[in-house]
């Protein structure tokens, strides 16, 4: 034993430098800006050329748009539905009959939606992990490919190589089906989504009803997974999911009924068109419905703060505890897809869908919708990085004691407003402006009043900091302090 520090202690770093190699590496890691400064000259030139081409193309587009030559033609790329209609007309002219156009256009649209979703699944988990890392002062996956972009691919490859186990005592058939079944509603729900005025795969007049019913089907697959796993954690997770989904269907439906009342249509395309026509987002008119929809959706798709169906710290992975390999991967992929789906629905119902106050004339509307759906997805990531988890009884209480009564009141209020809007022919901005103000005020008032009725107090008066003991002792000292306050 010597008086000196260990010989193996690394040479002391200069003052102000972090001591450990890992800390030094983290700090020495360059920022994106520094990376950009190191780009080689040919690459810079190529970038400049690409930028110029982009600007020229945009100018050309602007010219055509102003000229009005583009509107509704098959080459109007702002609405891919036009091209489809042209193709359909061409095919109908042939002698093959209507079935050909039906199948061809159906196939193209289906492949389009599936490739959009598939592309998102490829990038979505990377986005989520990198963003969560930002929230958590980490770096996140950055090793596979540029900025770690290929990480989801690597994950999928790893999952595919893993053994797919079936637990002893599991119901084989029921255990096999859910990872596939859970995909079906997640895909089908994209059908009636309006991407542009004429661009909707399944333009049905009961689109909203269709979305609500299709999304509630996923509970069946989850229950099958939990039941067939022969595992208590899975069963608990499945029971929680079923209880939660059944409860939260109601506030979701009530919050969407409000949208129907005001717009007068169940067709998703018409709901969006209504918002574009009146230059208003329904979220501004119906703040409470938007909140209800968003919060209930977190419960429906198992995201924080309502991810109790797969609460990691309590029931490990919930209903998919026993699934391994790519089967578990499918469940995770569906979760990602559902988050984007809810983002897109939120955008469609409350954030103006593909419209953006006239901007949709210039930018392809489907890109606007994708951006808004991405914003919804970001909100989910944000919540996941921020909030703790509710307990199941708290969650149920919140649905049945708060959301549902208040939603019913909201339906009544908006029904009155909708009849006012239908009867009196007033300038849109005045009537909808006053609705927005009245609804916001009523929401604040109703939430506070209802909390008082229910007997809920925020409990913020509870002493936040602990007390400090003036003397040391056992039970008597504890009693003395308790009695003294």
């Amino acid at each position: 034993m010597t008086d000196q520090p260990l010989a193996s202690t690394p040479a002391s770093p200069p003052a102000g430098q972090p001591a450990t190699p890992m800390a030094r590496e983290i700090i020495a890691r360059g920022s994106l800006l520094q990376d950009a400064k190191n780009v080689s000259v040919p690459l810079k030139a190529a970038g400049a050329v690409a930028g110029l081409v982009f600007l020229t193309v945009n100018a050309a587009i602007a010219y055509i748009v102003i000229d009005g030559r583009l509107d509704g033609e098959w080459y109007d790329f702002r609405d891919l539905g036009n091209a489809m209609a042209r193709l359909r007309a061409e095919l109908d002219d042939t002698s093959a009959g209507p079935w050909l156009s039906y199948w061809v256009t159906g196939l193209i649209g289906g492949v389009g939606i599936l490739s959009f979703l598939g592309g998102f699944l490829l990038i979505g988990s990377w986005i989520e992990r990198r963003m969560l890392a930002r929230f958590q002062i980490r770096v996140g996956p950055d090793r596979v490919g540029p900025f770690g972009l290929l990480q989801p691919l690597a994950d999928a490859l790893k999952l595919m190589q893993k053994e797919v186990l079936t637990p002893i005592g599991a119901d084989k058939a029921l255990f096999l089906l859910p990872p596939v079944l859970v995909f079906i509603p997640a895909m089908l729900a994209w059908g009636p989504m309006p991407w542009a005025p004429n661009m909707s795969y399944l333009d049905i007049n009961v689109g909203l009803l269709y979305v609500i019913s299709i999304t509630s089907l996923s509970v069946l697959a989850i229950w099958m997974a939990g039941w067939s796993s022969n595992n208590h954690y899975a069963l608990l997770g499945a029971m929680r999911t079923v209880a939660m989904m059944v409860s939260y269907e109601i506030p979701i439906s009530l919050s969407l009924i409000v949208v129907v009342l005001l717009t007068g249509s169940l067709n998703l395309g018409e709901i969006v068109a209504w918002q574009g026509e009146h230059n208003v987002w329904l979220g501004a008119l119906l703040p409470f419905a938007m909140f209800t929809f968003f919060f209930s959706s977190t419960a429906e798709i198992n995201r924080t703060p309502n991810d109790i169906a797969e609460a990691e710290s309590e029931i490990v992975a919930g209903f998919h505890t026993e699934y391994s390999g790519m089967k578990a991967g499918l469940f995770l992929a569906v979760e990602l897809g559902n988050a984007l789906l809810v983002g897109a629905l939120l955008a469609t119902f409350f954030l103006g869908g593909y419209t953006a106050f006239g901007l949709e004339e210039w930018i392809p509307p489907y890109l606007i919708l994708a951006a808004k759906a991405g914003f919804g997805y970001f909100l989910f990531i944000w919540l996941r990085g921020t909030l703790p988890r509710f307990k199941i009884d708290q969650l149920m209480n919140f649905a049945w004691k708060y959301l549902i009564p208040l939603s019913i009141a909201n339906v009544l209020i908006v029904a009155v407003e909708a009849s006012i809007a239908a009867r009196w022919d007033v300038e849109g901005i005045f009537i909808y402006g006053s609705f927005a103000i009245v609804n916001l005020a009523l929401t604040v008032f109703a939430v506070r009043a209802w909390a008082k009725v229910i007997g809920y107090t925020p409990d913020l008066e509870h002493p936040v900091g602990p007390r400090f003991a003036s003397k040391i002792g056992g039970l008597e000292a504890a009693r003395e302090i308790q009695g003294g306050t």
């Binding site: 008086d3 002062i137 002493p463 007390r467 504890a478 009693r479």
Partner: protein, 367 residues
């Protein structure tokens, strides 16, 4: 058809995200409600106390690192204090100050870990944990530059400490001490007023002062129940009698109180660190002792206030170089014993949070 439900048995652990190690709870449940539970420990048993009877007192110090691997410095200190009392070894004043500094740093690091994992158990997906790891990293950096190890430090020696901290240690420590109060305020703002966190922790896992004392709880778990007991005040060792600090205690004894007590203790530790930095004298950092220390026959029970509570070392000497009997009184094991009372009749989610609030370290439970 009747709708009767019957209780079922659920094994939580040995591998489970919230058992904080290899530890198993056999729970009898009715739906989501816990009817009864058994705690099954021993998966990490390494027979430390028996092995220690074959080694000298100094050779036993690394065992204490591996008992409570989140508070190695405090465990080191406990054994060294006990052995010094047994062998009548004088400790230089500078060494005592260094011991206080490192024990308090360890307390901050351990409490950061405890509170972070508690919030993680409540469902906040690792964000608070990683924020608290930011401070823990800096403390572990300080450990690394002093003794080369981050977790199993093996730093304290009988008669002092192993090494003098390097010159760059002191500015780094000062910087840490300066920024810690802001960081703690950050956690207070983020968590203590969070509606969901309050709903999950208040009124959960309540332990009354009577139960706490009957269950012989120690540390923040005891103080969270409102019993003002802290060995640093009650039975000052090292130079704690010269330090000015307060003992935070809880009001109701629930999970929230234990969380707040840990957070407040971190503040108090910063106070102690400030005073130690100001008051540390020059001088030797240890006294030389024989390689094989042979204490007079006798027995001693030395104890310190570790992050998890009283860490006690019961040593019996028969005059030989190795202890005749070596026993660790592990705070985690004793705090854990009240889990059954806390978890009976509550939901699984509450039991997980209650377990998280006891801040167990399985290495210390099983030894």
């Amino acid at each position: 058809m009747t709708n009767a439900s019957e209780p079922y048995v659920l094994n939580i652990g040995p591998q489970h995200p919230s058992t904080h190690g290899v530890f198993r709870i056999r729970v009898v449940m009715d739906g989501e409600r816990i009817l009864d539970l058994d705690m099954i420990v021993g998966y990490l048993h390494r027979s430390m106390e028996k092995l220690a009877e074959e080694r000298t007192y100094t050779q036993n110090i690394p065992f204490t690192d591996r008992a409570d691997y989140l508070a190695a410095m405090s465990s080191n200190l406990g054994l060294c204090l006990a052995a010094e009392r047994l062998a009548d070894v004088e400790v230089p004043e500078r060494a005592s100050y260094l011991r206080v500094i490192f024990a308090e740093l360890q307390r901050i690091a351990s409490h950061a870990m405890a509170n972070g994992t508690l919030v993680s158990d409540a469902g906040a997906w690792q964000t608070p944990l990683l924020y608290m790891f930011r401070e823990r990293e800096k403390i572990l950096d300080l450990f690394e530059m002093t003794c080369g190890a981050r977790l199993t430090t093996n730093y304290m020696r009988i008669g002092g400490v192993a090494f003098e901290p390097p010159p760059e240690f002191w500015p780094a420590l000062q910087e840490l001490v300066d920024e810690l109060p802001d960081r703690i305020s950050e956690y207070e703002e983020l968590l203590t007023q969070n509606e969901i966190f309050i709903a999950r922790t208040r009124g959960v896992g309540v332990i009354t002062p009577e139960d706490a004392i009957n269950g012989s709880l120690v540390g923040p778990a005891l103080r969270g129940s409102g019993v003002p007991w802290d060995l640093r005040k009650a039975e000052p060792y090292c130079v704690y009698d010269r330090m000015e600090f307060d003992i935070p205690i809880g009001t109701t004894g629930d999970v929230y109180d234990r969380f707040m007590v840990r957070l407040a203790e971190t503040r108090e530790s910063v106070k102690i660190l400030r005073q130690s930095i100001a008051g540390i004298p020059d001088g030797p950092h240890k006294t030389d002792i024989p390689l094989a220390l042979r204490p007079e026959p006798g027995e001693v029970y030395g104890r310190v206030e570790g992050p998890r509570g009283e860490i006690g070392f019961y040593l019996v000497s028969d005059g030989g170089p190795a202890p005749y009997r070596f026993h660790i009184r592990a705070p985690s094991l004793i705090n854990l014993s009240l889990l059954r009372e806390m978890a009976q009749g509550v939901a699984l989610s509450d039991a997980v949070v209650a377990l998280g609030s006891m801040d167990i370290v399985v290495g210390e439970i099983d030894r």
